[in-house]
């Protein structure tokens, strides 16, 4: 009889990378459905192309490099889906595919695959498009089902327009009803407009404990607080752009945020502050993408500096 001998533990949790990614996909489902509903079939195409491009990029790259295929962990699908939801519905499909390939190959695989990337791949893919084709990335289709007062605000004939943040930056106050902000009756990226759907996803992820509340709360909270201090409407600040989507689905990316609770808090506040700084003093009306990428780069530093007291020790070494 041959017996295995190993150091404990001899049992492991059933929760693996794949199940965590599946939970993220489930949390993204309401946002995806809402995005397709609001922006129509065109949005579905953008999402499909970015997801499939992400999967193919990862598979082909790992085949070429003779690495173990990790397609089953679902992380490429998550990256592709988040990227797709971050694009305007009118973006050319080849741009979606290109951004996906760059996200997976340049940001994720070249740094060692899942867990080793230092920037959020989807975020970088979007930033790449934003820097390369700024006009195409900032002209948003109005939701096909745009109803009510917003129509008057944006003009009935418009087929594309800027997010509500643009007028705000120009000092124009738009009178958009709160219900439109929450339901997504405003121009924007496919996934960022419907805040209700994002909040459902957030609640799901908190309930199944995929993420903790610290980053979303401190991110959104600091945006609201700082916007208010700068004289802007805090509700518009958090509900009109990509803050909520970024805080819930992108700043919470495990690989690119700090490990400790105190690090999560610093990271959330840092993201929120950067968003407000870029919106107020930068050239862009929106700053979520660059804010998160900036804080991604600070994550190793935050990890290095954050420590906690070890049981039985008076003071912990950094």
């Amino acid at each position: 009889m041959k017996l295995h001998v190993s150091t404990g533990p001899h049992v492991l949790t059933r929760e693996v990378t794949q199940t965590l990614m599946l939970d993220v996909l489930i949390a993204l489902a309401p946002t995806t459905v809402a995005g397709v509903y609001l922006f129509g079939l065109r949005a579905a195409w953008v999402i499909c192309v970015s997801v499939i491009a992400a999967m193919i990029s990862e598979y082909v790259w790992q085949k070429l490099m003779k690495q173990k295929a990790s397609i089953k962990d679902l992380s490429a699908i998550v990256t592709g889906l988040i990227l797709g939801l971050n694009l305007p519905s009118g973006v050319p499909l080849w741009m979606a595919a290109l951004a996906s390939a760059i996200a997976i190959i340049l940001v994720k695989q070249l740094f060692g695959g899942i867990g080793n990337n230092f920037m959020n791949p989807a975020m970088f893919g979007r930033a790449f498009l934003l820097a390369s084709w700024p006009a195409r990335m900032t002209s948003f289709f109005l939701p096909e089902r745009l109803l009510g007062n917003s129509q008057a605000a944006f003009g009935v004939d418009m087929i594309s327009g800027a997010t509500p943040l643009v007028p705000q930056k120009l000092g124009i106050t738009l009178d958009i009803p709160l219900s439109d902000l929450l339901l997504g009756n405003i121009p924007g990226s496919i996934g960022e407009v419907c805040k209700i759907a994002i909040l459902i996803g957030l609640v799901y992820m908190l309930v199944v404990k995929v993420i903790s509340w610290h980053i979303p709360v401190f991110f959104v909270g600091s945006v609201a607080l700082l916007s208010w201090l700068l004289g802007n409407d805090p509700l518009i600040a958090i509900l009109s752009g990509g803050v909520l989507f970024g805080a819930v689905f992108m700043a919470t990316d495990y690989a690119t945020n700090p490990m400790q609770k105190i690090g999560h808090i610093i990271f959330g506040i840092g993201c929120g502050t950067m968003v407000v700084v870029i919106r107020k003093w930068g050239n862009y009306p929106e700053g979520v993408t660059y804010a998160i990428l900036f804080m991604n780069c600070l994550t190793p530093l935050i990890d290095r500096l954050s420590s906690r007291r070890v049981y039985g020790m008076v003071k912990n070494h950094v």
Partner: protein, 442 residues
């Protein structure tokens, strides 16, 4: 009612009630082993010195090996019969252990016993000596000689004795059955220990997944103002000495210190029962309750003579129900693997678990996804993520001086919770061994 708990920790096998359902309702059954192989190095401290020879007849409870050194304890015959072998064998350690093998003649002939007296009347100055003479060591798994634990350095003021009835480890129900069936023994053991150490306060901590045991112990301790029964939250490792102290009296054992530095001594409930038997009956520690479970036909709680072989313990439970792939002593979080079926039950073995081949295989490591679960789970607030990175890069100095790996209690919580199956606890065990070996060689 508020429940006592600590920060961190996990809920292993939560959906199957920690695997305890298999044996929860099985009353303790005494089993007479045909043959026992008793290692001399069961306890922490110098191995005992055999004083019997091959062919000699021994009686139940007879001293067969003397204590060596200050920390050592004697070993007693756990069956009556003939000594058939005194030799070094590979048991649970990497190096061979000196073992005494006795064949049971089935007569159960005892040596004359010399009890110290009843719970109230026993001479309190002689109790600790009686505990040493009975060969008692920590029966929760660590096997640290109890008489040493109960003799803290004179500058440390111990004002509380905590009985550990948490039994947070998966699969095990040995302590549960003991508390349920013999609660008076446990409470009496605590009272004797309190008298011996002149301590006026005793706590008994039991996890809330054992309400019947809580009731039984409460009944047994009824009317005693100096003993309090505390309900603990079911969470692993609630029964870790440091976690239990934190949970019950909200104090921390200083790094590198003893529980006595926090004013407490922690004893397992089985150890308390053994103390009672040693003092009131004069009985040495020759058997213990062991949960034999997993892939055996009739999982059971057995009262086994110390030294019972794995194959005989399994046989007592109807044999294997599936081809075994792994057999370990203890629960599935910290259990120590038996290299073969000839390993034997020691004073520390509260469980013997059989896994089939499928359960035995630990999946390979995937990439760490930095999910922070290990950090949240660590009950001593370490950073397992950073520790594993340092270990993989062979940075032992960083592990020792900056990441405090020596404070790791090897509970396995981080490894259990890791979604990418990183070998965290094994790495930290290796690191601790390497650092300890370096210190010795310096």
């Amino acid at each position: 009612m508020s429940k006592f708990s600590f920060r961190g920790g996990i809920h292993p096998l939560h959906d199957t009630h920690e695997g305890k359902d298999l044996t929860r309702n099985k009353p303790v059954r005494a089993y007479a082993s045909k043959i026992v192989t008793i290692p001399m190095d069961m306890h922490i401290g110098a191995p005992s010195n055999p004083i019997v020879k091959k062919g000699e007849q021994v009686l139940l409870g007879q001293v067969i090996a003397e204590a060596v050194g200050g920390i050592g304890i004697p070993v007693h015959a756990s069956v009556s019969g003939t000594v058939t072998d005194v030799s070094a064998k590979i048991m649970m350690r990497k190096v061979p252990s000196m073992c005494i093998t006795i064949e049971n003649n089935g007569l159960d002939e005892w040596i004359p016993l010399n009890p110290l007296g009843s719970v109230e009347s026993a001479d309190s100055t002689k109790i600790i000596q009686a505990i040493k003479a009975a060969g008692i060591c920590g029966m929760g798994g660590a096997c640290f000689p109890t008489h040493i634990k109960m003799s803290p350095p004179p500058d440390k003021q111990v004002d509380i004795i905590i009985l550990n009835g948490a039994e947070c480890e998966t699969y095990l129900t040995a302590d549960f059955r003991l508390m349920l069936e013999q609660p008076q023994k446990v409470v009496d053991g605590l009272r004797i220990a309190m008298r011996a150490m002149n301590v006026k306060r005793g706590l008994i901590g039991i996890e809330d997944n054992k309400p019947e045991a809580i009731d039984a112990i409460k009944k047994a301790a009824a009317g005693r103002d100096d003993i309090e029964v505390c309900t603990l939250k079911t969470k692993y490792p609630q029964g870790g000495e440091k976690q239990l102290i934190k949970a019950l009296i909200n104090k921390e054992v200083p790094a590198g210190g003893l529980p006595a530095d926090a004013g407490a001594v922690v004893l397992n409930v089985a150890t308390a029962a053994a103390i009672r038997d040693a003092v009131v009956e004069g009985m040495p520690l020759i058997n213990r309750i062991t949960t034999v479970t997993g892939k055996v036909k009739e999982p059971d709680n057995l009262l086994l003579p110390i030294g019972t072989l794995v194959n005989e313990a399994v046989e007592a439970c109807g044999g294997y129900s599936q081809e075994p792939g792994k057999i370990f002593f203890g629960g599935s979080m910290t259990g120590i693997c038996a290299p073969n079926e000839e390993a034997s039950v020691t004073k520390a073995n509260n469980g013997l678990v059989v896994f089939n081949e499928k359960e035995a295989i630990i999946p390979p490591e995937d990439n760490c996804i930095r999910c922070s679960r290990c950090i949240y789970a660590c009950p001593v607030y370490l950073n397992p993520y950073a520790m594993k990175k340092a270990f993989d890069m062979d940075k032992m100095d960083v592990l020792e001086n900056k990441l405090n790996v020596k404070e790791c209690i090897l509970c396995g919580a981080c490894s259990y919770i890791c979604p990418s199956h990183q070998y965290l606890t094994p790495a930290f065990k290796d690191a601790k061994d390497i650092i300890a070996a370096r210190r010795v060689s310096k």
